[in-house]
């Protein structure tokens, strides 16, 4: 059984670090998750015991670095249940993965081909496709959503047509938190002979993502969002498709032969995408972070977060009519809300006020800059949760919001009091 209080002991930042004199209540895991000690230790182990380059040295220490580094591909393979570890490309993170994909797939697309995305995508799943429009004249289309901004398989089907060659969607939106029925969406995509690329930045940390079961063609994610180091992520691709992508970065480690007459020969996937010295310690740390969350169990993580999220929503809905929640019915980890009167740009004042209670949230547009068209507010407060958050954290958030709203009513300095 998963015990959140025992698990919290493994995160040094949750044991002793204060913010504004309070114990840290960290609710910004959608931006990046805190790191457990075992991941930190693994990174330090590389630096202190075998900090050599990979794929280079003919001596035992270098061999250890190689082994630890390549072992992570097998861990990732097991984690997302793909066919082969060579379907795993190490990248710097989701953003880099999507850019590698967009560049690599360019030669397979032509003018007029449609790339289908949604209005809730993160900037990193929007801009690489916008650039392809500028470069080769593809068209961007947006999926239809219902009045709650949800994408159902039926609406997805209505959005599909023969012109669509590529579908790029966030499995879980980083603001609204809807978890898409990717299995059904992938099936429909394939019925149209199109390719589906899933942005798993927010789903991979929270739910079991089985690329074979879901039958997705590409998947991008970042290790730092589940407690791994920054600067490392993954682009998964079904091998034949992956190997068709053109590599953007050329250099050491990805070629097999170079001749003076400017002929060169490059390796097969995944290595052709991994030119240069990689983030070795981060890669090894990612392996540890995956083992850590797999040991806890993805279902346990999801159930725990659902439970504490519901607790906060129930309390907010019963006790604080002044709070507007934009996504109460979604199961994803972000809780997007505003305090009435503080919508739009003023949501930042609520963020600053919550910080004075030790609560870390994010405010603004959350890199989903097309979203305001949908939810009708340019900014919102996002409390995003992870496996170490507790019912007490949620109470702390609700009580702080009540306090802020009450002070506002009495006109006693409200959300600006920290400044005065």
């Amino acid at each position: 059984m998963f015990d959140v209080y025992e698990t919290r002991k493994k995160y040094p930042i949750l044991n002793g670090i204060k913010m504004e004199g309070h114990n840290l209540v960290y609710m910004d895991s959608g931006a990046t998750a805190l790191k457990p000690q075992c991941v930190i230790d693994k990174v330090v182990e590389y630096y202190s015991e075998y900090s050599t380059n990979t794929h280079r040295g003919d001596y035992p220490l270098a061999h250890r670095a190689d082994e630890e580094y390549e072992k992570v591909r097998k861990i990732v393979k097991e984690f997302i249940n793909c066919n082969d570890e060579n379907e795993i490309v190490y990248t710097y993170g989701t953003t880099h993965s999507i850019n590698v994909l967009a560049h690599g797939i360019k030669h397979m697309l032509k003018k007029g081909d449609v790339v289908l995305i949604s209005e809730f995508e993160h900037a990193s799943n929007v801009l690489p496709w916008f650039r392809l429009k500028d470069e080769i004249g593809i068209e961007i289309e947006y999926v239809k959503l219902d009045e709650k901004h949800h994408l159902t398989p039926e609406l997805f089907k209505e959005s599909m047509h023969d012109g669509v060659k590529l579908v790029c969607l966030a499995h879980i939106s980083n603001v609204l938190g809807q978890c898409l029925d990717i299995k059904e969406i992938a099936k429909i995509t394939h019925d149209y002979n199109a390719i589906i690329a899933v942005d798993g930045a927010q789903s991979v940390p929270h739910i079991k993502v089985d690329v074979k079961d879901l039958d997705i063609d590409f998947l991008s994610f970042s290790a730092h969002k589940f407690g791994g180091p920054t600067g490392i992520g993954v682009l998964y691709g079904k091998y034949d498709l992956l190997n068709k992508l053109e590599a953007y970065n050329l250099g050491g480690g990805m070629n097999t032969r170079i001749e003076c007459n400017t002929c060169y020969f490059i390796k097969e996937a995944p290595f052709k995408f991994e030119a240069g010295t990689p983030a070795i310690e981060a890669t090894i740390g990612m392996g540890k972070a995956i083992q850590f969350i797999m040991d806890i169990g993805m279902d346990n993580i999801h159930e725990h977060i659902k439970k504490i999220r519901k607790h906060a929503i129930d309390r907010l809905q019963n006790e604080l009519p002044e709070v507007i929640i934009y996504n109460p019915e979604n199961e994803g980890a972000p809780l997007a809300f505003n305090v009435k009167g503080y919508e739009g740009a003023r949501c930042q004042d609520i963020g600053s006020a919550l910080a004075t209670y030790g609560i870390a949230v994010r405010t603004g547009e959350h890199c989903a800059k097309l979203l305001p068209n949908l939810i009708g507010t340019k900014g919102s407060v996002r409390a995003s949760l992870y496996l170490y958050n507790t019912i007490e954290d949620m109470d702390c958030l609700v009580d702080a919001l009540k306090d802020i709203v009450a002070k506002e009513k009495e006109n006693k300095g409200d959300a600006l009091s920290w400044l005065l």
Partner: protein
């Protein structure tokens, strides 16, 4: 000026400038104006400022856009402070304001209502809100000086 020590008065100043920002409309015929748009990737603030400097005197200054409480009110207060002043006087005000924001010595008499932002450093992530309009004017003054 003594009243400016009262947090409730400071709050009123900030909220008044947020709810009713001064010089808060851009002019359509901006041929005499220098203008700049400042937006931020990390937060919502996105303001455009126009300034008409004639013979080194700031004859008009305007701004508009979407911005948070602190960005809007600090920019509104700035426009009140510098309109009609010479660019050297405006520069002195900007320099003192920046000193205040970054916890150095400053002359509070020059800053008037702008001292409402003296504690922004308590949440350093909001410093950019309190300076976005001030940086905009600085850039416009620099542009004017270069063009001279």
């Amino acid at each position: 000026m003594a009243s400016l020590n009262d947090p409730m008065i400071l709050r009123q100043i900030i909220m008044d400038h947020y709810d009713n920002p001064r010089h808060h409309q851009l002019i359509e015929d901006d041929s005499k104006y220098l203008s700049i748009r400042k937006d931020s990737d990390s937060c919502i603030d996105d303001i455009t400022m126009q300034v008409n400097i004639n013979n080194d005197i700031i004859e008009d200054i305007r701004f508009d856009g979407v911005a948070c409480t602190i960005a809007t009110s600090s920019t509104s207060i700035l426009t009140d402070l510098v309109i009609g002043k010479t660019i050297d006087e405006a520069q002195e005000i900007i320099d003192n304001y920046k000193n205040m924001i970054f916890e150095k010595d400053y002359d509070e008499d020059l800053l008037e209502e702008a001292i409402a932002f003296q504690n922004v450093h308590r949440q350093a992530n909001r410093i950019k809100c309190a300076t976005i309009g001030w940086d905009a004017l600085q850039q416009l003054i620099d542009k004017y000086r270069e063009a001279k």
